[in-house]
């Protein structure tokens, strides 16, 4: 019988600890427990039997560490260990005459990119190996457990779903405050896992029953799924160098009774629990009737760390990472200058956006490549949920796959082919989709017709198993200058979708004012109209004061902002940062010398009124930067001050370049292209980033390849972009080898390219010994060397 069919019919019991039982049977410290499936099969099977005899319904195969990353025994492939382990669990079940054998999957022990060095797809494959072997060996279900990283958990769930049809249960390890070590919380975990379609959500390890009890109410509040709890037998106690757990079987069982009575359907034990604990548990809880599940029907999105609900309290979606009408962003995308996107993300978050739109589509770029590059970087600088905005379905799937969380998907519409393409992706990866009320006949003129399309979208989604709360409807803002009634139909349609269909709504506001002067004013007024009709999310420019004023005022006036706290914070923020005025009398040169970014931008703006842009660069900015460089080299300025001056110069350059562009010209050409990379194996990139900031502000275009960069990538980029100078950084002695290899490869494929190196362990002699052309002893040194190369 499939375990899914038994869920809820009675309380189901999982087994207890495997590791501690194996240690008791003689497993030595440092030895892989999985190896015992082959060397001590009877001992492993005996443990399974003990748990089954204690009343457990599910035993977990002894495969916690048997994934392609963690289990690295050259003599024994993962598949062999998993097959053996699965066979032992199955035999125990057969002998006991009851129960199911679960394939147990634990974490890889590695951190995924971008924070660590494990590639997402490599993680999927690492988990796919035990899944395939376990399914072939007859597993009844898969339990993914003790996961502290939602991204890794997503990789494991995808591996399970893509390689078998077994039920998938997923369980996480939280700390006492309900936080994952990687920063997630319970709502973020629920949003992700329900989107991925797991069958059961659980908590295990880390905590004893008492601490887990404190987290259960929040888990129940958020999830619609059956809950599995497998606490430790208390918190670990360390005495005399040994770790032990001190909650007795009776106390353990007593706490578990409370769990079962408050709605938990599946119970078991983790570290420190024994067959005695499980026997006490089953005896105490066997006759408790499971409470019915309560569907939560939330419309929401998430990142790895936070969730955003589309409900009565409206939220802002930042629209600035979208190239339509933005020449500077288009340039950044063409040059793969992701830092520009990242800065836009951080700024929008600071301005109060709750979700960020991400659209990198341009006719001349590979959208799939760019989107999959941009998303992980964006997620390493912002914890806001992202809106994946693309009409390229290949790019959409690639993005949904690597996104860490439950994304907002932009968009699906009433055309059959749109729904046929988007809904399967939503079903597989999870997400909430913006549904446009248009179809093959275009955008209907009346609210009635837009509602009819919305109904059709809801019905079609249901056929894919997607509930209506996973859709938010965009009733499409039309240009009021072209069609006088346009701005009336849109709010009417969204009001009716909210009240008649019970769905969330979302609107890109800016279209309405197209072709009109002072568009911002019209947009803000339209925002108020639509908020009044119950709009759940507005896609706006969060850097527009007019929009923010309208938004925060609306929330305060609508009793959505207790004590007007957010409104006041917004108003205070504006007062604190007026259009940065230069400190009185400060000229641009002084602002750069003193490293004051705000003043430098304002001073540049003031200076441009009297001085032509190019003259301002050559007569003021360049001499100021020269002075700063010399002051650093002579010890008058410290590194932070050098960087502050470089950043002040950047603020000034931005103003000057805008002026040049608005006058129909272009920004001055860079002095040259320089590749920077932290070498293979090294993940410490602060030195490289310092050099980058300096080179950029001294006039160079930097191609930043990031950290942990293979020699081949450096070499290929140098050849493709015809680069004459490469800067490499390495922190540790062990990674200088990667540096040497990169230099060797560059010499072969790009002999005219110079290489400068830097990093904590390097010296001039060491640099020469590995064949570098230049040793950068400090931050300015790279600028000076570049100036020699690009005279």
């Amino acid at each position: 019988m499939n375990i899914k069919d038994c869920l809820g019919s009675r309380i189901l019991f999982f087994d207890g600890a495997m590791g501690t039982q194996l240690q008791a049977a003689g497993l030595a410290p440092g030895q892989a427990p999985e190896s015992w499936n082959l060397t001590h099969p009877e001992a492993v099977k005996a443990i399974h039997r003990a748990y089954l005899d204690a009343g457990a319904d599910v035993v977990l195969s002894n495969t916690f560490g048997a994934n392609g990353v963690k289990f690295a025994d050259p003599a024994c492939p993962v598949e062999e260990v998993v097959s053996a382990a699965m066979a032992l669990a199955k035999q125990a079940v057969t002998e006991a005459g009851h129960g199911w054998a679960a394939l147990d999957i634990g974490p890889t022990g590695k951190l995924l990119k971008p924070m660590g060095d494990l590639d997402f797809e490599a993680a999927v494959e690492a988990f796919a190996r035990p899944v395939r072997a376990g399914a072939a060996a007859g597993a009844d279900l898969i339990l993914i457990e003790t996961m502290s990283d939602l991204y890794e958990l997503k990789a494991a769930v995808l591996a399970a779903k893509e390689n078998c049809d077994l039920p998938v249960f997923a369980s996480l390890i939280f700390d006492e405050n309900g936080k994952l070590l990687t920063g997630g919380d319970i709502p973020a975990a629920v949003a992700l896992l329900e989107g991925l379609g797991v069958d059961v959500i659980g908590l295990n390890c880390g905590l004893g029953p008492a601490q887990m009890a404190a987290l259960l109410p929040q888990l129940r509040e958020y999830t619609s799924l059956p809950i599995l709890l497998m606490p430790n037998a208390g918190l670990p106690q360390c005495t005399g160098g040994c770790t032990h757990f001190d909650v007795s079987p009776e106390d353990f069982a007593a706490q578990m009774v409370d769990f079962a009575r408050s709605g938990v359907w599946l119970l078991g034990g983790c570290c420190g629990t024994t067959p005695e604990h499980i026997a006490a548990l089953t005896a105490a809880c066997r006759n408790i009737v499971p409470l019915p599940l309560e569907p939560k029907r939330r419309t929401w999105v998430s990142s790895y760390a936070r969730t955003v609900v589309f409900g009565a309290d409206p939220v802002l979606i930042g629209e600035r990472i979208n190239p339509t009408g933005k020449s500077r962003l288009k340039q950044a995308l063409r040059e793969k200058d992701l830092d520009y996107l990242l800065r836009e993300a951080v700024t929008q978050q600071e301005k109060g956006a709750a979700v960020l739109d991400v659209n990198v589509g341009l006719p001349e770029v590979d959208e799939t490549e760019l989107l999959t590059l941009a998303l992980p970087r964006l997620q390493s600088v912002t914890d806001l949920p992202l809106q994946i905005d693309t009409s390229d379905l290949g790019a959409m799937e690639a993005a949904l796959r690597i996104y860490n969380g439950r994304p907002l998907i932009n968009s699906v519409n009433g055309k059959p082919e749109s729904m046929a393409a988007v809904f399967p992706l939503m079903k597989k990866y999870g997400g909430t989709a913006i549904a446009l009320t248009l179809d093959e006949r275009g955008i209907p003129a009346t609210a009635d017709e837009r509602l009819a399309i919305a109904r059709r979208i809801i019905d079609t989604a249901a056929q894919y198993g997607i509930p209506k709360e996973d859709l938010v409807f965009d009733t499409l803002a039309m240009t009021v200058s072209a069609e006088p009634g346009a701005a009336l139909t849109t709010p009417e349609a969204l009001y009716r979708i909210r009240t008649e269909l019970g769905c969330g709504t979302c609107l890109g506001e800016s279209n309405v004012s197209f072709g009109l002067p002072r568009r911002e004013k019209v947009n803000a007024a339209f925002l108020l109209l639509t908020l009044r009709e119950g709009l759940s999310a507005a896609i706006v420019n969060p850097c527009s004061d007019a929009m923010l004023d309208a938004f925060y005022s609306f929330r305060a006036l609508s009793a959505l902002d207790p004590n007007c706290r957010d409104y006041i914070a917004h108003a205070d923020g504006q007062a604190a940062a007026p259009q940065a005025a230069p400190a009185s009398g400060m000229d641009l040169g002084t602002a750069v010398l003193r490293g004051l970014s705000d003043s430098a931008g304002a001073a540049a703006r003031a200076a441009l009124e009297a001085t032509p842009p190019l003259e301002l660069i050559s007569a003021v900015l360049v001499p100021a930067l020269d002075q700063v460089g010399k002051d650093f080299e002579t010890g008058k300025l410290y590194l932070p001050q050098l960087l502050m001056s470089a950043e002040a110069a950047r603020a000034a350059f931005q103003v000057v370049n805008e002026k040049l562009r608005s006058g129909g010209g272009s920004a001055p050409a860079s002095k040259g292209k320089v590749i920077l990379a932290t070498v293979k194996g090294d993940v410490h990139d602060i030195g490289k980033n310092i050099v980058k900031v300096l080179l950029e502000n001294y006039g160079y275009q930097v191609l930043d390849l990031g950290k942990d960069v293979p020699p081949e990538t450096v070499a290929e980029t140098a050849v493709r972009e015809n680069v004459r100078l490469v800067g490499l950084s390495a922190l540790m002695t062990t990674t200088v080898g990667g540096m040497e290899e990169t230099i060797r490869l560059l010499r072969q494929v790009k002999p005219d390219c110079k290489v400068m190196v830097g990093g904590a362990v390097l010296t001039a002699d060491y640099a020469a010994a590995i064949g570098a052309d230049h040793y950068g002893k400090d931050a300015m040194s790279s600028v000076r060397y570049a100036d020699q190369i690009f005279v």
Binding site: G183, L639, Q641
Partner: protein
């Protein structure tokens, strides 16, 4: 609870004492760090054996003359792993694109904070063993001298550091999150045999951050 040792943070930045123009920003860097960091530590005690030139503890066999000398007279060791958590890495990642000078200051504060926490954990361990008449040797980390960096995975494994404090090693045995430390601490009945640790045990004599004396 450990905090940021400001004079250490200034030293990591290469500052010779307080620089008035930088103090406000340094203070802000410290505040940002303290709100992003989630310091965690884990330690366990293991017997130490010496076998044919190798040191054996926690199921590991380590060949390192420097560590061997460092642990002279010790019959047991504590393994320690400490981290400021992934939030610190994310903060640094963000500042690297928005405000590099602030990033550099947070980096320095993080190094100082991590050191303070390691001292704090070591104090707790010292208090635990004081009753047994045992004293701690200074921390000695993989990568110091000839103590191989490739012992990182086994060391982390012995402490279950991945599960308990979220600390992992990359393929090249760098710690991730980056603001982290692993160390071996010898347990000795002899208070006087503890020699100076830290910079004095390091071979990089020309390091600009080297502490004298």
């Amino acid at each position: 609870m450990a905090g940021i040792d400001w004079s250490e943070a200034r030293r990591y930045l290469g500052l010779k004492g307080e620089v008035p123009e930088l103090e406000d920003k340094l203070r802000r860097a410290g505040e940002l760090l303290l709100s992003a960091a989630a310091p965690k530590g884990v330690w366990r005690r293991f017997p130490l054996q010496r076998r044919e030139g190798a040191l054996c503890f926690a199921g590991m066999e380590v060949t390192s003359a420097r560590l061997r000398a460092h642990l002279a007279g010790c019959g047991e060791v504590y393994l320690l792993a400490a981290t400021l958590g992934i939030g610190t890495d994310r903060l640094l990642e963000r500042l690297a694109v928005t405000d590099m000078s602030l990033a550099v200051m947070v980096q320095a504060c993080a190094a100082a904070l991590l050191e303070s926490w390691c001292d704090e954990y070591q104090d707790r361990i010292a208090a635990d063993v004081a009753g047994e008449g045992l004293f701690l040797r200074p921390r000695f980390s993989p990568g110091y001298g000839d103590f191989p960096l490739d012992t990182q995975p086994a060391l982390l494994g012995a402490l279950e550091a991945g599960k308990r404090i979220g600390l992992t090693a990359t393929g090249a045995n760098m710690l991730s999150p980056t603001k982290s430390v692993t160390a071996v601490i010898g347990l000795s009945p002899d208070r006087g045999s503890c020699h100076a640790g830290g910079c004095a045990t390091c071979d990089k004599k020309d390091c600009e951050f080297r502490r004298e004396g």
